[in-house]
C-alpha cells in the first residue's frame, strides 16, 4: 500500500491510528463516511478499551474494601473474586467443584438441544412440506411457543421431580419450537427451480428431501440452533436456581443463602463466558459446515 494514508504522521504510528479509526486502504479515500453502515465493523481496540473501563469501574467501587463505594455485602472485590475462583476450582463450594457445576449445566443444555433438534427439525420439515401437517402442527406450535419456559418450571417439577429430568425437559421445551420454526422457514426458502431440476435429473422423493430440501434448509436451521442455544442457556441457569442441586445456577442460589457475593460473581462471570464461547462455537461450526451461507 504505497500511497495509503498520506496524512499519517510517521510510519511507526500509522498502525496505531489505523487501530483507533479503522481507516484502511479500502475506505481511506471515501468522502462519505457517516451513514456508510456496510463499512462499520467492530474495532478490537475499542472493545479492549471498554473492557478495561469496566474493570476500572469495578476496581474503583471497591477501593477501601468494605468502606468503599460498594460494601462487601453488596459486591466483592476483584481479588476476593479471584480467590473465590481458585478455591472453587480446587476444592469446590459445599463439596461440589466448579467443574462439576459447570459440566452439569453444559450437559443439560447439550441434552436439551439434542432432543429439541432431533424432534423439532423433522416436525418443521414436515410442516414446510405438507399443508395438512402444517395445519395440524400449527395449533400446538402457535399456542406453546409464546409460553416462557420458566413459567412451566413448577409444573415440570411436579411431573418430573427436582433435578436433571425437569431441567432437561424444560430445555427441550425451550428449544423445540425455535427449531421447528427454523426448519419450516428453511424449507420455504427452497427455490422451485432447484426442486424441478432435481426431479428432471432423476431424483426420487426421498432424494429430493435429503439431497435438496435438507441442505437448502441448513442455514436457517443453524440460525435457529444459535438462537435456541442462547435461550436454553438463559433458561437453564434460571431453572437451576430452583430445580437442581448441581449446576451454575444452583451454585449461585446456594451462595446467596450464605451471602457469598464472591461466589455469585464467579458464577455469573463463568455463565457469561460460556455463553459467549458457545455462540462462537456454533458460529465456527456454521462457517465450516455451510460456507455458501449468504452467498447465494
Amino acid at each position: 500500500m504505497p500511497d495509503f494514508d498520506p496524512d499519517a504522521s510517521s510510519p511507526s504510528t500509522a498502525w496505531l491510528k489505523r487501530a483507533f479509526t479503522g481507516a484502511d486502504s479500502t475506505n481511506a479515500r471515501k468522502t462519505v463516511t457517516f451513514g456508510d453502515a456496510a463499512a462499520v465493523r467492530s474495532l478490537p481496540l475499542w472493545s479492549f478499551l471498554s473492557f478495561v473501563l469496566l474493570m476500572a469501574i469495578w476496581y474503583v467501587v471497591k477501593i477501601g474494601g468494605d468502606d468503599g463505594i460498594l460494601n462487601d455485602r453488596t459486591f466483592a472485590s476483584q481479588k476476593d473474586t479471584w480467590d473465590a475462583f481458585l478455591l472453587l476450582a480446587s476444592e469446590g463450594y459445599r463439596n461440589i467443584t466448579l467443574w462439576e457445576h459447570t459440566s452439569a449445566s453444559l450437559s443439560r443444555v447439550g441434552q436439551g438441544m439434542l432432543w429439541g433438534t432431533v424432534l423439532g427439525v423433522p416436525i418443521g420439515l414436515a410442516m414446510g412440506l405438507s399443508s395438512k401437517l402444517r395445519g395440524f402442527f400449527d395449533a400446538p406450535v402457535e399456542l406453546f411457543r409464546p409460553i416462557p419456559p420458566l413459567a412451566l418450571l413448577p409444573l415440570f417439577i411436579l411431573w418430573f421431580g427436582l433435578g436433571d429430568k425437569s431441567a432437561r425437559n424444560l430445555l427441550i421445551f425451550a428449544s423445540i419450537w425455535i427449531m421447528i420454526i427454523a426448519a419450516r422457514a428453511g424449507v420455504r426458502t427452497v427455490n422451485l427451480s432447484k426442486i424441478r431440476a432435481a426431479y428432471s435429473l432423476g431424483a426420487s422423493k426421498p432424494q429430493i428431501l435429503w439431497r435438496v430440501i435438507l441442505p437448502n434448509a441448513l442455514p436457517e436451521i443453524f440460525t435457529g440452533f444459535r438462537v435456541a442455544v442462547g435461550v436454553s442457556w438463559g433458561t437453564l441457569v434460571a431453572a437451576e436456581l430452583l430445580g437442581t442441586s448441581t449446576g451454575l445456577g444452583s451454585m449461585i442460589f446456594q451462595a446467596r443463602n450464605f451471602f457469598r457475593i464472591d461466589v455469585i460473581i464467579v458464577g455469573v462471570i463463568i455463565i457469561a463466558l460460556l455463553g459467549v464461547l458457545m455462540d462462537i462455537g456454533v458460529r465456527f461450526l456454521e462457517a465450516k459446515l455451510i460456507p455458501w451461507r449468504g452467498k447465494g
Binding site: 432435481a198 428432471s200 432423476g202 437448502n216 455458501w292
Partner: protein, 266 residues
C-alpha cells in the same frame, strides 16, 4: 432421435380471485429430433408455460405433448432443464453439481468421474471442479447448469432464458457454446429467449408466439445456426439476410406489443 410434438395444447390458469388466464390455446407443432427450436414473443405469451409443459412440470388443461410418440406425464430424465438462474445446488461444488444426476441413478463413483471430467472439459470448466458455486461468475454458473443437464444424456434440453441474466459479451460466448453443444451432441433443444437476435442466431427453427391467448403466431425455418459453422458470429449477424429477418420479426413483435397496449388502454 425422438420427435417432440404438441397436439392442441391449451393451458388455462385458474386465478383464485379474478378471471382465469388463457396462457396457451391450441398449440400444435412437430419438432423433429435433433433440431434447435427457439421461442420468442412478448412477455406473458406463454413461453415459460409451454416449456414447463414440455418438461412435465405442468399438465396442460387440454391436448397433450409427446416425446417419441410417448405422452409426457411428468418430469423425466429424457428431458433436461436449464433455468435462468438459482437452480444450481450451492451446497455442492461444481463437480458434485454435475455428478448429481448420475449419482441419483446409482451410478458408481468410478464411472461418474470420467463423465464429469469430460463434461467440464466440454463446457470449458476443466480445473474448476472443486470450486463452490458462489465463487463462479454468472456465465460460468450457466456452464455448470449445462454440464449438469447433459450428465444424464437427455434427448431434449429445455432452456428458459438461459442467458437472460448475463452481460452482452458473456452472452455471445455462451451462444457459441450452446451452438457447439447442439452440433456435437445432436440433441433436440428448445430455448426461450427475449432477444430477437439470439432467437434468429441460435434457432434452426423459430416460433414467434402471440399473447391473449398464448399461441404460435408464426413459424420460421432458419439458416443461420447452420451457417454459423463456417462464419464469424459478428459477420453473420451483420449480413443482409440476417438483418432483414431481424427487422421482419421485430416489426411482428412490435405490432403485438402495440395491440397489447391498445388492449390495456381500452
Amino acid at each position: 432421435m425422438k420427435d417432440l410434438s404438441a397436439k392442441n395444447v391449451g393451458m388455462i390458469y385458474d386465478v383464485p380471485k379474478g378471471e382465469p388466464v388463457h396462457a396457451l390455446e391450441d398449440v400444435n407443432f412437430d419438432l423433429r429430433g435433433g433440431r434447435l427450436l427457439t421461442l420468442l414473443g412478448p412477455s406473458g405469451c406463454g413461453k415459460t408455460t409451454l416449456l414447463n409443459i414440455l418438461a412435465g412440470f405442468l399438465a396442460p388443461t387440454s391436448g397433450e405433448v409427446t416425446l417419441g410418440g410417448e405422452r409426457i406425464e411428468g418430469p423425466g430424465q429424457d428431458r433436461g432443464m436449464v433455468f435462468q438462474q438459482g437452480a444450481l445446488f450451492e451446497w455442492l461444488n461444481v463437480e458434485h453439481n454435475v455428478a448429481f444426476g448420475p449419482k441419483m441413478n446409482g451410478v458408481n463413483k468410478e464411472a461418474i468421474k470420467p463423465i464429469v471430467d469430460d463434461l467440464l472439459n466440454t463446457v470449458g470448466l476443466s480445473g474448476f471442479g472443486d470450486k463452490h458455486i458462489y465463487e463462479l461468475s454468472g456465465g460460468m454458473q450457466q456452464r455448470v447448469a449445462l454440464a449438469r443437464c447433459l450428465a444424464n444424456d437427455p434427448d431434449v434440453i429445455l432452456m428458459d432464458e438461459p442467458l437472460g441474466a448475463l452481460d452482452a459479451l458473456t452472452r455471445e460466448k455462451m451462444q457459441g457454446l450452446i451452438l457447439k453443444l447442439w452440433r456435437e451432441t445432436g440433441k433436440t433443444v428448445v430455448l426461450v429467449t427475449h432477444s430477437v437476435e439470439e432467437a434468429l442466431y441460435l434457432g434452426d427453427r423459430l416460433f414467434v408466439m402471440a399473447p391473449r391467448p398464448g399461441r404460435i403466431d408464426r413459424s420460421y425455418d432458419l439458416p443461420f445456426a447452420e451457417a454459423a459453422l463456417g462464419m464469424e458470429p459478428r459477420e453473420l449477424k451483420a449480413s443482409a439476410e440476417f438483418i432483414e429477418k431481424r427487422e421482419e420479426v421485430l416489426s411482428l413483435i412490435w405490432e403485438m406489443e402495440e395491440q397489447i397496449m391498445g388492449h390495456e388502454g381500452a
